[in-house]
């Protein structure tokens, strides 16, 4: 078997060839193609960029809606929880403490309510036939 020696034997050519006039035709073909491509590429790119910006803006807005809702719900939940905790922890408030919390206006409101109650009592008492019996007992 004949030993192949690529370093010292004559070089083996690739054997590839091209059609006649290929490179001349190729240069012409490239010139035409590039002049067409140049115009197209600019318009496609600029349109694509605008669409990309619009899509990006819509995406950001769409993504922000659930985030906003989640944050809003979380705040409400927190408030209710705080309120519930407050009520639970302060259930032992005494009458005296309640009274201290009332200001002048609250007292006035209570007075009005009291007078209505008084009037109702008077009416009830004046029309009640058993008044004497109640007073005795």
């Amino acid at each position: 078997m004949k030993k192949i020696d690529l370093q010292h034997n004559p070089k083996i050519a690739s054997g590839f060839k091209t059609p006649d006039g290929y490179f001349e035709d190729f240069a012409e073909k490239m010139r035409t193609q590039l002049s067409q491509n140049d115009t197209k590429v600019v318009s496609i790119n600029s349109n694509r960029k605008n669409w990309l910006y619009a899509a990006a803006a819509i995406f950001v807005i769409a993504m922000s809606i659930p985030v906003y809702n989640a944050l809003k719900t979380q705040t409400l939940n927190l408030d209710q929880l705080t309120l519930e905790n407050y009520i639970t922890n302060n259930a032992h408030i005494s009458e005296r403490e309640f009274a201290e919390l009332l200001d002048e206006e609250d007292i006035q409101k209570i007075k009005i309510n009291s007078s209505i109650e008084d009037k109702a009592i008077e009416d009830l008492l004046s029309t009640n036939a058993n008044l004497e019996e109640y007073l005795i007992n």
């Binding site: 030993k3 020696d5 690529l6 054997g15 590839f16 059609p19 490179f23 190729f26 240069a27 590039l34």
Partner: protein
């Protein structure tokens, strides 16, 4: 024309046509050879070469001149060729190796191939190499690109490239001697 001057002319709409003609006449032949060595078939090479020049033209304004125009264009051509094979393999639900094997099997019937058995045997031997080693071998053996230039194109050190080529030659010689 100096490389910087050529780039400036390519970026200027007034001188663009003339400069692009120059770019095509300087680079279409070596880039064709480079791509053809990777994708094998002439029609596929034609597609990849067109894509390469379109990419070069589109990205020319981003070319910072850190590397030479030559190595930058070769890098684009290499990536385009490899991407082309991978896409073809994905479309055919097969591997890129199977695509290359098929391309070599079709060489005998190819109008644009005037090789004989030894050339086909060499192509088959190259296929046994890992992808990067195939590239190194083809660029050195067929295209005779200097290691320094190859290093800039492939982003690999000169030492590693020399070692890779040496191993590739040994493997190919063994394969061709045995079969």
């Amino acid at each position: 024309m100096e490389e910087k001057e050529l780039i400036q002319k390519l970026l200027n709409p007034k001188t663009q046509d003339e400069a692009f003609q120059r770019l095509l006449s300087d680079y279409s032949r070596p880039l064709y050879r480079h791509i053809r060595n990777i994708v094998i078939d002439h029609d596929d090479t034609d597609d990849v070469l067109q894509n390469t020049f379109i990419k070069v033209f589109q990205h020319l304004k981003n070319f910072k001149g850190e590397s030479k125009l030559f190595s930058w264009m070769y890098r684009i051509a290499t990536n385009e060729a490899i991407t082309f094979i991978n896409q073809k393999a994905r479309r055919g639900k097969t591997s890129s190796e199977a695509i290359q094997t098929k391309a070599i099997d079709n060489l005998k019937a190819d109008h644009y191939f005037d090789g004989n058995e030894i050339q086909i045997k060499l192509q088959k031997a190259i296929l046994i190499l890992p992808e990067k080693q195939q590239l190194v071998f083809k660029m050195r053996y067929f295209e005779e690109i200097k290691y320094e230039e190859m290093s800039k194109i492939l982003g690999t050190s000169v030492g590693a490239l020399k070692a890779s080529y040496h191993h590739a030659v040994k493997k190919i010689e063994n394969f061709m001697t045995r079969s």
